[in-house]
């Protein structure tokens, strides 16, 4: 018998690499590739679960589920548009807010560690279960006696001493376009949710700012650039690639907590309409991906890569 051909050292190393990634690869095949395929299949069929024997039967129904989702379902289209609009409003706000905050936190100042610790608290506090419980209790309160926590949270937007309508009318008189004004007012009203959602983004931006070589700022200073110019000519282009990372993260994150996902969940596990739920999941995923590709493509064209 012929002796088995020995592998070269390089081949051996590449085999080792495959061994290292093997667990993930198997998981990816089982949980992602197979699941995506199944979700696609469910969307085109009526699924009945056999309670006695276990298992499920699929009866192909063609496009019926899609028809129901788009033409018959009461809230799907509305939920989808709300999710998309919320996301489109939030993404630029969160990105710029977190970049701004990262620039403030990046400087050395006394008490830096305390402030940073506070700023990353939202990652902890932004827990699904806790906000659910608080929503529930707010619903039970039925708008009657407002709790102190809500009262205190609301003070950011309006207090008795501070009349926001006055400010708005002042800006109206200035002749600012109404659409821009609406956006700004909306942004101020959402400050809570924006701060809550930007913890991770601030971390990423701080890391990005730290990776900018100090010599660049030195050169800018020697050439006589002002702070404003330095920001637009040095800082902004250097963090541009990480803006993409953050935008992707923000979009995915805001979609996982959107009304569409809740709808898909309740349709599947409360109403047991698995086919329809799959349609909801698929459509919202496709919409997310299209938006992702569009926005990332748009930014990428304008991105400057240092390396």
């Amino acid at each position: 018998m012929k002796k088995r051909k020995k592998m070269t050292l390089l081949q051996k190393r590449s085999m080792m690499g495959l061994v290292f990634i093997l667990p993930w690869f198997v998981g990816f095949l089982i949980f992602y590739v197979r699941s995506l395929f199944l979700t696609g299949q469910f969307a085109f069929s009526k699924l009945t679960i056999d309670a006695v024997q276990g298992g499920y039967q699929l009866a192909p129904v063609g496009l019926a589920n899609f028809k129901e989702a788009f033409f018959a379902h009461a809230t799907f289209k509305q939920d989808l548009t709300t999710s998309v609009i919320n996301m489109l409003i939030d993404v630029p706000l969160i990105t710029f807010f977190s970049l701004f905050m990262a620039m403030l936190l990046n400087k050395k100042f006394p008490g830096r560690f305390v402030v940073r610790a506070i700023f990353f608290l939202p990652i902890i506090l932004h827990a699904g279960a806790i906000s659910e419980a608080m929503d529930l209790s707010a619903q039970m309160m039925n708008g009657g006696i407002s709790s102190q926590a809500q009262e205190m949270a609301n003070t950011a937007g309006n207090t008795l001493a501070f009349d926001i309508d006055y400010i708005i009318s002042m800006f109206m008189n200035l002749g600012l376009p109404a659409s821009i004004l609406d956006y700004i007012v909306e942004a101020v009203a959402r400050i809570n949710s924006i701060i809550e959602a930007s913890g991770v983004q601030i971390i990423i931006f701080i890391a990005a700012l730290q990776s900018i070589p100090g010599s660049m700022y030195e050169v800018a200073k020697i050439e006589g650039a002002t702070g404003y110019e330095t920001f637009w000519k040095v800082t902004f282009p250097m963090v541009m690639p990480h803006i993409i990372t953050n935008v992707v993260y923000t979009i995915v994150d805001s979609f996982t907590e959107s009304p569409v996902v809740d709808l898909a969940y309740t349709t599947a596990f409360d109403k047991f309409n698995y086919g329809l739920s799959s349609v909801f999941s698929l459509v919202s995923t496709i919409v997310t991906c299209v938006i992702l590709v569009a926005i990332v493509g748009f930014i990428q064209k304008r991105t400057f890569y240092y390396n």
Binding site: P23, F31, Y32, G128, Q148, T155, I206, T256
Partner: protein
Amino acid sequence: MKQKAKQKVSFKEFLNHTKAALQDPDQRKSMGTDIKNLLVSILKFLILVGVSYVILSPVIGMLAKSFCSDADAIDPMVYVIPKNPTLSRYALAILRMDYFPTIARDLVYTLLTTLMQLFICSMVGYGFARFNFPFKNVLFALVVVMIVIPSHTIMLPLYMTFKEFDPFGLATLITGAPINLMGTTIPMYIMTMLGCGVRSGLYIYIFNQFFRGLPKEIEEAALVDGAGVWYTYFRIMLRNAMPAVITVAVFSIVWQFNDTFYAKLFLISPDVVISKKIATLQSVIANQDKIMSLTLQELYLDAGIILILLPIVLIYVLLQRYFIEGVERSGIVG
């Protein structure tokens, strides 16, 4: 009288001094920058304090309310600091949530999954960072795809898979029927072991970036000294990747502890995942203790929320210094 005169003189002196300073262009410029810098730092300070307040205010509110007694809760004069602080809210919340056994089980579950995440994700990240194999770039693109795909897209098939868990027909062969894993934590462990747990894609990405940044010479030295691949990875590379390990550990602990999506999907019992108990705490207290006043019910809910946040905040405070430094050095950013 005398004092006043003295003051007047000093003020005059000051005025003269300022005038002189203003006439000299160099000094004027430096004074202008000084004032500008002062104003800018005051503005920064105000912004930081303001945003910190927005973040902290709900927590302060809950903390304050959880100590309020019955009388304080309806007393309009009480704001933030209760007049007669009481611990009875905590006592009842601990009793009704079965707090200590539950939190212990939850922490064991969270820490176990975190250990698995660390082990698997660092391994995969290392594999991608240091080895060359066919289709490496395509496979790494799949990791990014995994981060991007929202997990709700695959929730139904996951539910089906674990409801009738039957790997390669083994379960049917042994017990005669597929196993129902719903209501246990096993699905989560299985998914984490196969690198598909809560946000595993992100962790793989972080580890990959970090290992790519480490100098190759360390490994070469280890190889020359006769260390095998596994020895190098466990004893040398993982030790050097401590910042990345801490970053991922904090993320993983926090997100796993807060996760409700998978906990709901796999119907994991509230006895293991304490965050599920908080959703029912208010009605449990209403039904079992006959506390019908919504205002009072909320005080117990606040105490419950504080209790649930407590361990995770403690872990965070202990690790946060390493964590932020770790994020800065681990080059999430590459």
